[in-house]
Amino acid sequence: MVNIVVAVKHVPQQDNVRISKRTGKPLVDLAEGRMNPLGKKALETGLRLAQQDPNSEVTTLSLGPKEAEPTLRESLAMGADRALLVTDPLLEGSDGLGTAKALAAVVKQLGNVDIVLTGARTSDRYAGHVGPAMAAILGWEIATHGQSAKLTDEGIRFEKVLTSGTVATLTVDTPCLLSMGTHAPKPRHATTWGVHAAHETDALERWNLDDLGLAKDEVGPSAQATTQRSIEPVPEKERDTEAFTGDPDDVAESLPRRLASRGLLR
């Protein structure tokens, strides 16, 4: 029996964050939100792991307002066995550390969890520190930015694509936290049957701060470890296209030199 928890965040539909001219803060529209794309890949990975062992259970977990419900229902529609939404006004305004504390507390409360899966980062914050912070709080092994995970007798076989393009294979002992990156497999489509079942009135479990066993001052704005100074749009990268004309052989021969002179080859 493998007990898998997948943390998924409900994020705005658009990746482009708009910033309020009035407050200088990002405008977050969760009414038309979606499941964080890498979180969805983490869920797909969790569902595939569960297929390896018929006794396993996949629980999805999200911290967020009531507007986050569609993401958890979608996770059920895709095949999760349980979905748990943690909503509490005191959790609002938590930074990555506060979020990690709350999520880790849920994992502890659930008990007997073998694997926690997360997306390597969220599409709205892009910080990528909630997963690692959770692993640190839980004191578990961690492997990040995976493309796949499989159950083996030795532990979890975890593959990740390195920046060089090569694939590294790690073996991770449970309990562990695994974060999935862009190379993880494409998430399945929820079936029509799943969509309906996920909307049964009692399909979601709802928790608040009291269920986590955390003190009120451990989370929320007062417990922030990071301060956001400002949010500014990043100027777009400059792109340039240059066509080399002439005899193809000559052009090919001169290519390394030309690239090197522009600092593109070393």
């Binding site: 489509h189 029509t192 049957w193 996920a198």
Partner: protein
Amino acid sequence: MALEFEFSDEHKLFRRTLRDFMDEEIRPMIDNRFYESEEFPWEPVRAMSEQGLFGVPVPPEYGGAGLGEIGYGILLEEVSRVDTGLATIVGAHTGICLAPIYLFGTEEQRETYLPPLCRGENIGAFALTEPQAGSDAANIRTRAERDGDEYVINGTKIYVSNGDVADTIMVSAVTDPALGAKGGVTAFIVDTDTDGFHVSSKEDKMGIRRSTTAQIEFEDLRVPAENVLGNVGEGFIVALTALDGGRATLAAGSCGGAQEALNMALEYATAREQFGKPIAHHQDVQFRLAEMSTEITTMRYATYHCLDYVETYYEKVAAGEDVDKSFREKVSRRSAQVKVQASEMAAEVTEKACTIMGARGLQEGYNLEKGLRDAPIAEIYEGTNEIQRLVIGRELVQRGRYEW
């Protein structure tokens, strides 16, 4: 908001996952293969049935998805965006085979027939039209004669969508020639693996070529009496009740096809430059695009509002409750109205898209040309628009005043 009109979270998630599924999995399969040969497209149909698209309105206890008539409208709208032929396959299967079995079937009929149909393991069809009985449906001659515990069916049905591949067909046949349409027609559930069932020919059509259309024959085909759907003599009630809902969902399909045409025209108009700027910035083109978008929006409101009524209507019929006559008439009238309007709107929008795209609109390989050939069918099937006008007009004149 005083007049709340929004899709439920369930229907929103259904539309979102369905759209992704259709665009990512089915659209790439829409090539010329099936279109040229007019063969039944098993590959996309299998994928769609595994996705749960062949039993959308039927409750889960019979193997369906339980998404009701609004869910079924969303299904046809989204499938039509990708291909009208595939929408026709799902529509003939669901709206006029699966739905009447659910609405009028005995518990035993529902339990036997619905689960494999909902899983898409069995394909459904509906056979009403005959060579001499099109719009004049009351003139059907396919005969079902009682012989002990069985009925013996003889006759010919034409223009049967899915007719060549169907496992289960809803057949209207005459049980009492003396009574005719008023009590002499009965609906039967026919298994096509029964002796005496033949597919005699397949049509070669201009449009919706991914949907197959067959002529079928019954030659001393024996069905057990328990395969009568509804009551003996009430075959037209079964057929017309199914068509009342089917029409409104067809309207949703037309909205989907029109959106596809608009998006194609919009993409082209933004990319194509003439007189130094994209043609989308020329007022004539922009006005046309605005008209297309406006027509689709108003039609979608009317269609889904009507489907909300159809859903209530069907819930009552399925539960065996009495339906108020004026309510039934209202549903029937509105579904006829949205069917007429949406099918003509879609044809118009597709033509406007063609005008914007110029020669490109007629060129093979740009899907608009296919849209132009696919659009007219919605004005013809499930009761021609002329018959719809006749019914709407007759009721209006009888009533003597406009009724909403």
